[in-house]
């Protein structure tokens, strides 16, 4: 039985983390990670985990095309590099083929993640890290595949006030991208602020969380939406 099967509505973040740590896991799957960050006020993509081609096609139709399929596993922390992501699947045939593709990779998967396809030109990153002197710290910056090359990020020590969050958003060099941009509306900063405050509080409340990457956080219709997320767990239990 895979972890998401026991993910019931009433299961709390605390229980989910505890179970994962007790099982000696180093990270949560993308699906689990999104449940955790959603509880901390970060808007996430609509998605579900499936275990058969049939289920994949049904769920994709229910969600509405196009969709994205990703191999789902807590040990799979770099899905794109592993070729475990299929995007812009427009119909049932696309989905069926992609499902077979992913399952045939020879990677140990607990299922396949079906996700709404999010379109937007602006990609940001939100993260959590633990500093040896200052404890949990929140990061905000330019996301996407160039994150580490651009290094356009700002940090704050948790807990963050709303003012802290607003200030760090304005601190990145590319802060202009938060305004209306090439026909897209300005980013809803209140949503970003709540997300940053929420991630800081999450880090303070849960020692079991070592690090978090939410990247990319894509802006669509002015609303930021977490498209990928990774929660790294504390080691050495």
């Amino acid at each position: 039985m895979t972890i998401h099967h026991v993910l019931k509505k009433e299961m709390t973040v605390q229980e989910l983390l505890l179970k994962a740590v007790q099982n000696g896991r180093q990270a949560l799957s993308e699906y689990e990670s999104k449940r955790v960050i959603a509880a901390a006020n970060v808007p996430v993509t609509r998605e579900t985990v499936v275990h058969s081609r049939q289920e994949a096609v049904e769920q994709a139709a229910r969600m509405g095309f196009p969709v994205v399929l990703k191999g789902s596993s807590p040990t799979l922390t770099h899905k794109t590099e592993m070729g475990m992501v299929r995007v812009n699947l427009k119909d049932a045939n696309d989905v069926a083929r992609a499902y077979d593709d992913l399952m045939g990779k020879g990677v140990d998967l607990e299922g396949v993640l079906i996700q709404e396809m999010v379109k937007g030109n602006r990609e940001f990153v939100i993260g959590l890290t633990r500093d040896p002197q200052f404890g949990p710290c929140v990061m905000f910056g330019m996301g996407g595949i160039f994150t580490e090359a651009l290094k356009d990020v700002a940090f704050r020590v948790a807990p963050l006030t709303e003012d802290d969050a607003r200030e760090m958003i304005g601190e990145i060099r590319a802060a202009k991208l938060l305004d209306a941009f090439r026909g897209e509306s300005a980013v809803d900063q209140d949503v970003l602020v709540q997300a940053l405050v929420g991630i800081g509080n999450l880090g303070l409340a849960h020692e079991d969380i070592a690090e978090i990457d939410i990247n990319p956080l894509i802006v669509t219709g002015g609303k930021p939406l977490a498209v990928d997320a990774l929660v790294i767990l504390k080691r050495g239990i």
Binding site: L7, M11, R156
Partner: protein, 476 residues
């Protein structure tokens, strides 16, 4: 904490008559130079008297439990002495000896043992590997090896001031104390905290809230407890200026996330300073060059600066510097420009205001016009002292700044040695370069903004208890 700075009696453990004995330098300074009136005891293996300080071979033999023990012996002997101090009932100890946590595993084990004894006996320890305390008002100093006959050191005690330093390096302590002697502000207290096994910078920030200190300057090589430091700084109602060097140890494990990969100690310390209202300094020199903007001038409450010069060149330099520092050139209102026009001999009535060879009254009029203008938050006078009357005008400016509750960061484009001499003789807060003056305005504003914000900072509690929030199924 007071007993560390103003003990009524002291024992120097390790003071003897051996040549080059460091403990003896402490006895000599207290007795000969500071005319310390409390009892000073010396403890050494022979139990010999040191410069008139009664000698004993053990702490246990002292006729009383002194307020403070200063220990300066080989590290391996320190734990035993701590035990003796505990037994004797001594509650404050400065350990000047080195060779503990900075000196490998056995040193670290000794430090742990001492911490344990101290905790159990309610003893507070400063150090190890430090110089301890200096308090000008109490004429007390635990520093070893100081030669008080040096003119600067003498002066430090003769004119107590309002600047207090917490410094993790003896050399930097000497540098800032000597430098302040050629500046305006006197020293209140200096403390060298070394490895800070117990008393740390956060404890001292709290302590400096209730004494004559006006500005707290800190030099750090490492931070023991970042959150404790942030909390103490956020509580502080006096400016806290920190210059920090060195990178801390990376986490034991390699980072797995991109976030942890991009986090570095420097950017996080920067964020911590901003959140706690700490002024992060860019150089050691700022420890002594910047405090006068806090002690001598009102706070800069907005960002709009009027520059005023009697040499056009410095006006345009100032404009660039102000913008780089995140401040603004004030846009002078028509009525302000009108008033400037009437002041006479003004070449440029827009900011930067530029005058030619003018009479003293013109300087005073311009100070008044600019400081009283609603669109001006602070002044940057760049005034060459080409006539001695300029000095008198600057004296008047100080009074006007107090009256209008707006600061001026004065720079005199003269030889630095001349500017320093004028500053010392006439007690005018002159900055040595235009960069320094602009930086002073910038930190004054940063501090003011942080005071306003900090009332909110620690109200940020865990608003939502994520523990008890059920996870919503996203796909229904």
């Amino acid at each position: 904490m007071e007993r560390f700075f103003d003990p009524k009696s002291v024992v120097v453990v390790g003071a003897s008559n051996t040549a080059f004995n460091l403990g003896a330098t402490i006895c000599n300074m207290l007795k000969d130079y500071l005319s310390y009136t409390g009892a000073v005891y010396a403890v050494n293996s022979k139990g010999e008297v040191v410069n008139g300080c009664p000698g004993y071979s053990s702490v246990l033999e002292l006729p009383q439990a002194p307020d403070l023990a200063i220990i300066i012996v080989a590290a391996r002997n320190v734990p035993g002495i701590i035990h003796d101090c505990a037994q004797k009932g001594i509650k404050r100890i400065i350990i000047e000896s080195a060779g503990f946590s900075e000196g490998g595993e056995t040193g670290e084990a000794m430090q742990c043992e001492m911490d344990d004894v101290a905790r159990k006996n309610g003893i507070r320890i400063m150090g190890p590997n430090c110089l301890g305390t200096l308090s000008t008002r109490n004429k007390f100093c635990s520093f070893y090896g100081v030669n008080p006959s040096l003119v600067e050191m003498n002066q430090v005690f003769e004119s107590p001031g309002t600047m207090s330093y917490i410094i993790q390096s003896g050399g930097v302590a000497v540098l800032v104390m000597e430098s302040l002697y050629y500046d305006l502000i006197g020293i209140n207290k200096v403390v060298s905290i070394g490895n800070k096994c117990d008393v740390d910078e956060a404890d001292l920030i709290d302590y400096f809230q209730s004494d004559a200190t006006e500005v707290i300057g800190i030099y750090l090589e490492n931070i023991a407890d970042g959150r404790k430091l942030m909390e103490a700084a956020a509580r502080s109602r006096k400016p806290v200026l920190i210059y920090k060097v060195g990178k801390t140890k990376e986490g034991a494990m390699a980072a797995m996330s991109h976030t942890a990969g991009m986090a570095n100690n420097d950017s996080i310390f920067d964020a911590a300073c901003r959140q706690a209202g700490i002024i992060r300094l860019q150089s050691i020199d700022e420890l002594h060059s910047l405090p006068k903007i806090f002690t001598e001038m009102p706070r800069l409450k907005g960002k709009r600066i009027a520059a005023f010069t009697n040499s056009g060149a410095f006006g345009s330099i100032a404009a660039d510097l102000l913008v780089q520092a995140g401040l603004q050139m004030a846009r002078l209102a028509p009525q302000t420009q009108e008033r400037l026009k009437k002041a006479g001999q003004v070449f440029n009535i827009k900011n930067p205001v530029d005058i030619g060879p003018a009479l003293p009254q013109t300087y005073l009029d311009i100070f008044e016009i600019l400081l009283s203008a609603d669109e001006v938050d602070g002044l940057l006078p760049l005034l060459s002292v080409w006539q001695t009357f300029v000095i008198d005008c600057l004296h008047e400016l100080l009074k006007m700044c107090k009256h209008y509750d707006k600061p001026a960061a004065i720079y005199t484009p003269n030889a630095i040695a001349k500017s320093i001499a004028i500053r010392a003789k006439h007690k005018i807060p002159i900055f040595e370069t235009s960069e320094q003056a602009v930086r002073a305005l910038s930190v004054s504003h940063t501090y003011y903004a942080s005071l306003r914000r900090r009332n909110l900072l620690y109200d940020a509690m865990l608003q939502d208890d994520a523990d008890n929030r059920p996870i919503a199924e996203v796909v229904s």
